[in-house]
Amino acid sequence: MNEERFILSGIKFGVLPPYEISRMARVTVTRPELYESDGTPVMGGPRDPHFGAIEPGEACPVCGNRRDNCPGHFGKIDLARPVLIPYYSDHVNAVLQATCRSCSRILLPDEQVKRMLRVLRTLKARWPQLASNFIREIRKQAAQNSVCPHCGARQYRIRYIRPVVFYEERPEGEVRLTPIEIRDRLEKVRNEDAELLGLDPEASRPEWMVATVLPVPPLAVRPPITLETGLKSEDDLTHALVEIIRQNERLKHYLATSAPETMVEDSWIALQHMIAAYIDNELPNVFVLQHRGGRPLKTLAQRLKGKEGRLRGNLSGKRVNYSARTVISPDPEISINEVGVPIEIAMILTYPLRVTPENIEEARKYVLNGPYKWPGATYVIKARTRTKIDLRYHRNHKQLAESLEVGDIVERHLLDGDIVLFNRQPSLHRMSILAHRVRVMKGKTFRLNPLVCPPYNADFDGDEMNLHVPRIEEAVAEAEEILLVEKNIKTPRYGGPIIGGRQDYISGAYLMTVKTRLLTEEEVLELLSKAGYKGDLPEPAILHPKPLWTGKQIVSLFLPEDFSYEGRAKINAGPLACDNYDCFNDSYIVIRNGKLLEGVFDKNAIGAEQPNNVLHIIALEYGDAKARELLDTLYRSFIRMLEVRGLTLSLSDVDIPQKARDEIAKLTEEAKKEIAQMIKEFHEGKLEPIPGRTMEESLEIKIINRLQELFRKSQEVAVNYMDPFNDVFIMARTGARGSETNIAQMVAMLGQQVVRGKRIHRGFRKRTLAHFVEDDLSPEAKGFVKGNFRYGLRPTEVFFHAAAGREGLVDTAVKTSQSGYMQRRLINALNDLVVLHDGTVRDAYGNLIQIKYGEDGVDPMKTYHGDPIDVDRLIEKYSHVR
């Protein structure tokens, strides 16, 4: 074939002119019927065969092709009278407003037109955004002129009722402008004037926006479907077209028989509305085209609009092959870089292996194994014959394997070590899609190292995740270099680690590093073998009567040799606070030359999303690979530590001695007495009001404050009486799970329940529940819960607790939808922005957005919580070097 090749430099949109519609039409539709009584399509009807071959085996009468090759052909409807097209009519309005009603010149003097044209053309070339502002300005100025500067005709106000009705306010009264009159005016508009009004007369003459012929799309656009019963069911567009044709023929008939003017008028308006609805069936002031059943038809605009429309549903996002989805479950034994893939999935997802002299033997093995034995292959693409062989239906795999040649492609099963993309919705982050290495496993779930939960925000209560296989070398390389889990340990959001220990890892690390932890040789070997440690054991901390090692010694084995660090542990608070290494509470972490000398490891050392902790500093200063190694080895021994020691809770863990309960009861009594006094003063009008508040407000604030104080004091009492090695308490203190507030809720009291920041006050008239008297302001009647989870709540307390709990649920539901929409808009606004090598930020057109990224050119991913250089850390790092 002798084809000329072109490079597409741009796409220009315009209005389809009537002559173009007529030229491309292969049928003129005049009959609303679809089929004759014998079932053949009506010639000149909306199902005319000239619209293109649609049935299997049917030959197209226009191009002669069968269904698969016929592109489909347009038809047309010659309209009896012209009609306006919705959406175009906004521009029609602008032109009508700005041009003279008699001579159709723009309502601006000639010199000004000339000058504006010159300005507009330069603006268009350089600042397209400003050109549209300028055009708006021109339109406004021209519309203000009430006398034509060219012919001197007086102008009348034109009222535009969206989408298709125009009125002119003439001296004799308001007159409707018919599409014929409108078209006459638009025809006379000069090309230069049209350009000034923002139209491109070459591509869109204004009169083309008033339709005289209507294009009818090919059948491929509106395919009929045959039901099992043999009945044909037509597309919504065909139904809409039938209505238009019927109305058009009716109007033609009225015109031919010189029917009364009112009938012609009504019929014309009906046609106008149908065509408007054909384009968009959700327009205001236009009736809705409906099915027999009353369901509104899906017309052209409905196909394109919205989340499931053509644009958002089929073009910006579409369904893909080479992907898998299933439930996720945890596996702390695999690397954080890995994902466990069920063998069944690994036999369906494939990677196109290009056969080379080096791998031909390997490729043969896959072909020999076939599609049902892992590691096998599903297809072979022969380079020589350009054929794709499906191994499911190929008999002789052995012969095929032998005939493999360099250049063939083998669609082989997913293998261990392949790079895949792993994703969990909602993808709010760039870390919501990360690259993992495949590890094929038994079972039916994807296996994920629980350390990688934070970036995905995943848990294992039934979450499902998606997996995609990149199938070209470039994509694999990009995924491996940029998206691999270990390269995303640090978040680009705020300069901290996003991957790191949570929950059990933190409890485990704490239990391993507490001062009291002494491990026998057997225990040490157990922990180290879990971590995959290879090397010598250190000198035991205690030699006699039997050798014992401390947990801190185990941790030290994994830290880089020249690593020094100082910082507070999470438990460094309240009575355990210390601010330097002279610390008897073991709550100040001191690492010198890779040895953990003091302090426990908890959330502040190994946790996720804790900037400047041990993990983060190692990732920054020793590289992501070192941090990954730590996560894959040391962290595994934390889990083992927890498994060996066990972590559990019983009722006794959330119980405190009778003495403590008495103390809390006494505190409660005191608070209640004080509040009763306040209420009494309030009723007597003697309460001291808070400045700027009414008496009622002051009382509420004072009561709430007093009850908060009560809760705080009770919490203190409860925490003071807790056994420091109580597992619940350990979890709260180390930051593994729960807080001291939660503990107080279990062992002491739930405290005041709040809805919308106020004590619960609604329900019955003047009271919350029928258990109380009207206007009771006392704590119990307004949502104060003195019960706790250990000893139970009273019925009224359960109700108040449920009311406050409900508010939380409603809040999250509302917040997610609102922030989701906000984020969508933000993403669209920032789309395609890129930081170039000179540090500038530019958009896809090359427009400069920022001179220096973020004003300082700093990549937050490489910072100490936002600081590119942390001076204190530098001093610390170098003052302890050996």
């Binding site: 300028f134 500038t840 400069l848 001179i851 220096k852 300082d856």
Partner: protein, 86 residues
Amino acid sequence: MPSRARRRVSKKILEHELVPKHEVLSFEEAVEVLRRLGIPPNRLPAISVNDPIVQLLGAKPGDIIRIIRKSPTAGEAEYYRIVVAF
């Protein structure tokens, strides 16, 4: 395009702490800035002639304005905008 009547702008806005320092570049400076950024003037962020600060400076369309902003991370940050009609 003097389509809109120029509003009278108070000089006081220059002293407001939230208004960063603006200055009009000389022709030579403008050329230097554009060369440094390697872009034609129409790729710069725009600022309208109707912007109060531009009116105070008396800048005309085509002028380039340097804005020196206080930045919590970078101390002072420079920014350039080109004056455009509309």
